[in-house]
């Protein structure tokens, strides 16, 4: 199975996010960057499918020079090949613009399966994946936790609200947007890093792809969320309060 995983590099979760002068984007000078978490789970799913059924995993990412580090990380974790769409103005493109870039390099690969995270941790539009499916002319499913290869194609598990799940049979080729937490991520290893050095990584510039399209959505302004603190006192006996706390940690804070 030939699998393409589209990943995005986003500011590290605990990076100090400051609004840049002009108010249209964040100040990138002091940031550290990381792989978008849902994309990391998409990559993990791809690697597991490859380990079970053989094939190839190709990683695609768009963004400036620094994005190469994230692609290399994916290669170190086990992807076979990397495609870097070099673009310095990703922030100015809308989801359609980014999806067009991705589609332009993915299409010639003719993959059996395209995986990507359901949304990015920075903008959280949740659209790039589905638009990409449309541009590639592939059927898609979203919010996927688990993928199983069947004789006919795929069986996927979607996460709905309130602890409900949906199971779907799909044919291949297809595109899936993956939910975080459906699989256990692997850690990077020294061996992986060393092996990644000899793996192919191709860079193409956005200009080379010839996709220069005025965005249909333009960003007006960004602002920091207002701080609000809400303290809750849990009543009842220690046992009840503890049970309520565990419940809240699970469902509201989602740390358990």
């Amino acid at each position: 199975m030939k699998i393409v995983v589209a990943i995005k590099q986003v500011p590290n979760r605990d990076a100090p996010v400051r609004i840049a002068a002009g108010g249209k984007w964040i100040d990138e000078s002091d940031l550290e960057w990381a792989m978008n978490e849902p994309d990391a789970h998409a990559l993990e799913e791809a690697l597991q499918l490859k380990e079970q059924h053989g094939g190839e995993v190709i990683v695609v990412s768009a963004g400036p020079e620094r994005v190469a580090a994230t692609i290399r990380e994916a290669l170190a974790k086990g992807a076979d090949r990397g495609l870097h769409i070099v673009s310095d103005d990703l922030g100015a493109r809308d989801a359609l613009g980014v999806a067009r870039l991705l589609a332009a390099v993915i299409k010639p690969e003719n993959p059996d399966l395209v995986l990507t995270g359901l949304q990015s941790e920075d903008l959280g539009l949740g659209q790039t994946g589905v638009i990409l499916a449309e541009l590639l002319g592939l059927p898609h499913a979203t919010l996927i936790l688990h993928v199983e290869k069947t004789d006919a194609g795929l069986k996927v598990k979607r996460e709905l609200e309130e602890g409900w799940f949906q199971s779907i049979d799909m044919s291949l080729p297809a595109l899936l947007t993956m939910q975080s937490g459906g699989n256990k991520l692997r850690y990077a290893t020294l061996m992986g890093i060393k092996r990644a050095k000899s793996k192919e990584m191709r860079a193409v510039s956005a200009a080379e792809l010839g996709i220069e399209l005025a965005p249909v959505v333009t960003l007006e302004q960004i602002s920091a969320p207002k701080k609000q603190k809400s303290t809750q006192i849990l009543s009842g006996s220690a046992k009840e309060a503890a049970a309520a706390l565990v419940e809240k940690l699970k469902t509201e804070a989602r740390v358990l």
């Binding site: 979760r13 256990k184 990077a188 992986g192």
Partner: protein
């Protein structure tokens, strides 16, 4: 002169005796070489140690004299058995010349005349050693076969036979002073001594007595630095994955083990029902080398050692510290972990969580760095800018753990009281201790390099830290990737200024727990005691200083899941509480958390737990300007 007894040897030997001796000696030497040759081959065919340096040689010579010739370590750690062993060893040394002369005599080449001046004195001295040796070996025999300490392992007939042969050697030698006639008896004694000797030789490489030959080398050639983790070399070195990764030092050490069980006796994992037994790890390597050899691709974690055992080690170093033949267990255990982690073979939910947290984030606790920023801001800790004397290294525990923070703040109060200038880094990453000990070289390099970079950029010259793990990692392990600044543990800092700190001589009894990474790893035993003694009367736990028993957190284990068997921290906390002390003084934020939980589990009446910085800060005026 004539008061000295004289040894009687046969006057001459007939031809057939000489022929028989030559044949037996040849057979004996063959028996020795048949086993020893391949062992030597396996050691020499192992990979060269990339970091091995013979020089500076002074420490090697000193260790050799102290540990091998004087047997100081053997005696210090197990006095009775140690002295007995030393007597046997020294008798062997003295007997080297006696034996050489004994064998030379039959060929007519004897060089010590029993009736001559030198010979007489030498043989008489040897006789004294022989008496001591005979008594000692008899005592050791009784211990081995009747007292049966469990760490010596199962009884083996070889041990008994060896003891018997040594006893015979001594007895036949001594008897020759009393039997001067008839010639037949003299001859019989000579042959009895010779036969014992020739039987002994081939037994050496077939039994643990191989240490007679190898341990002088293993002591002399050991890496020398305590628990020192060697660098990886080249693109195909991931640690100890298979036989091909075993270095000459590791193979030499594997064959040098004398199976004394000191390592397992002191191992906290072994003492609390874990699978790990450091002695079995060493003997496992020997078994592996015997079966697969040093070029094999067969995984080391398999038939002869389990992955689970390798990851139960707290890297406390008690085993390595105790080992009388210079075996370095910690680099071996960490090497096995490196092999498993660097190739991705180790699959552990907690381990993966820790690694992923450090791949993305800055600290082992997986918290947001803004938490650290808030802590720094709230307590008005100035940012280090190169002008202050000390860079106060917070570490993950000091920056993120509530109790670790209290320790840092106690130290801060003291430093402010003393007027010492200090600042904290604006950004700090985990020192890399847990990932280093768990064998994740990729992450360790990343963390060490990022931190070393910050050190250079901020012109840091001197660091003080509350965490012995950070201190060790910064000082020793970072060296692989650059030049770390000078580092002090806060106990060392506080001890320097102890006279300027308010002391309060109360009747309160304080027991100090030596953290492994401060004591055995850094040799700082007195400094923390000096600080703790400011506030009361020190009492000692049964296992203290070099013999201190781990809290269970080291080696990255603080971040892994539930232990099997008993918890190490509970065992140690019970031991500390049993001293009757009102205060348990700790000097490591990890020991602190481990004991906090363990003491809480014990319930009421448990002693108070404090870091030495908190003890020293207790008497300071409440508020002092920052």
């Amino acid at each position: 002169m004539n008061l000295l007894p004289t040894l009687t040897e046969p006057r001459h030997f007939v031809l057939w005796e000489r022929a028989l001796f030559a044949a037996l000696a040849g057979a004996s030497a063959y028996g020795f070489w048949r086993r020893f040759g391949p062992i030597l081959g396996r050691i020499l065919q192992s990979k060269k140690d990339p970091d091995f340096r013979l020089f500076p040689i002074t420490k090697r010579v000193r260790d050799f004299v102290w540990e091998v010739l004087l047997e100081a370590k053997v005696i210090r750690e197990r006095p009775l058995a140690g002295v007995a062993h030393a007597l046997v060893f020294w008798a062997f040394c003295v007997f080297a010349l006696v034996t050489l002369n004994h064998c030379a005599a039959i060929l007519g080449l004897g060089f010590l005349d029993p009736a001559g001046r030198v010979g007489r004195i030498y043989f008489a001295v040897a006789a004294l050693f022989a008496i001591a040796c005979a008594v000692a070996i008899a005592c050791l025999f009784v211990r081995r076969f009747f007292v049966q300490p469990q760490w010596l392992g199962r009884l083996s007939w070889e041990s008994g036979l060896i003891a018997l042969l040594i006893f015979m050697l001594m007895a036949t030698y001594l008897a020759a002073f009393f039997v001067a006639a008839p010639a037949g008896a003299v001859r019989a004694l000579w042959w009895a001594h010779t036969l014992a000797l020739l039987a002994f030789l081939p037994l050496i490489p077939h039994t643990k007595h191989l240490h007679l030959v190898l341990s002088p080398f293993s002591v002399f050639l050991s890496r020398g630095g305590f628990a020192q983790i060697p660098p990886l070399r080249g693109d195909e070195d991931f640690g100890l994955v298979a036989g091909k990764d075993l270095t000459r030092l590791v193979s030499l050490q594997a064959y040098s083990c004398v199976e004394c069980g000191r390592c397992m006796e002191h191992c906290p994992a072994n003492a609390t029902g874990k699978q790990l037994n450091p002695k079995e790890i060493v003997l496992g390597l020997r078994g592996y080398l015997d079966e697969f050899g040093p070029a094999s691709e067969e995984p080391l974690l398999g038939k002869y050692a389990s992955q689970q055992a390798a990851f139960e080690c707290t890297t406390c170093g008690a085993c390595e510290f105790q080992c009388p033949v210079g075996i370095e267990h910690v680099p071996i255990l960490v090497g096995l972990r490196r092999g498993a982690v660097n190739t991705g073979a180790w699959d552990d939910a907690y381990g993966a969580k820790l690694f992923l947290a450090l791949e993305k984030g800055s600290n082992a606790l997986g918290l947001s760095t803004t938490e650290r920023d808030k802590f720094v801001e709230k307590n008005a800790l100035s940012i280090f800018d190169g002008t202050q004397e000390y860079c106060l290294w917070l570490g993950c525990m000091g920056a993120y753990d509530p109790h670790g923070r209290e320790i840092v703040l106690a130290l801060v109060r003291i430093m402010r009281h003393l007027g010492t200038s200090f600042g904290v880094l604006r950004k700090e990453k985990c020192s890399g201790d847990p990932v280093r000990r768990l064998g994740n070289d990729f992450l360790f390099q990343q963390l060490a390099e990022a931190n070393l970079d910050a050190m250079v950029q901020n012109r840091v010259k001197k660091i003080v830290s509350i965490c012995p793990h950070c201190v060790r990692t910064i000082q020793e392990d970072w060296k692989e990737f650059g030049t770390p600044p000078e580092v002090e543990h806060h106990s060392e800092f506080l001890a320097k200024f102890a006279s300027q700190l308010p002391s309060f001589q109360s009747q309160q009894k304080i027991v100090f727990h030596d953290p492994c990474y401060l004591g055995r790893y850094r040799n700082a035993y007195n400094e923390p005691r000096q600080v703790a003694a400011l506030a009361g009367e020190l009492v000692e736990a049964p296992r203290s200083r070099e013999r201190s028993f781990c809290c269970g957190a080291g080696g990255g284990l603080a971040f892994l899941g539930e232990e099997r068997g008993e918890r190490v921290s509970h065992v140690r906390a019970a031991e500390l509480a049993a001293t009757g002390a009102e205060v348990i003084a700790a000097a490591c934020p990890f020991c602190n958390t481990m004991f906090r939980d363990a003491l809480a589990a014990r319930g009421g009446g448990a002693p108070e737990l404090m870091d030495i910085a908190q003890i020293a800060a207790r008497r300071l005026p409440e508020r002092n300007a920052g």
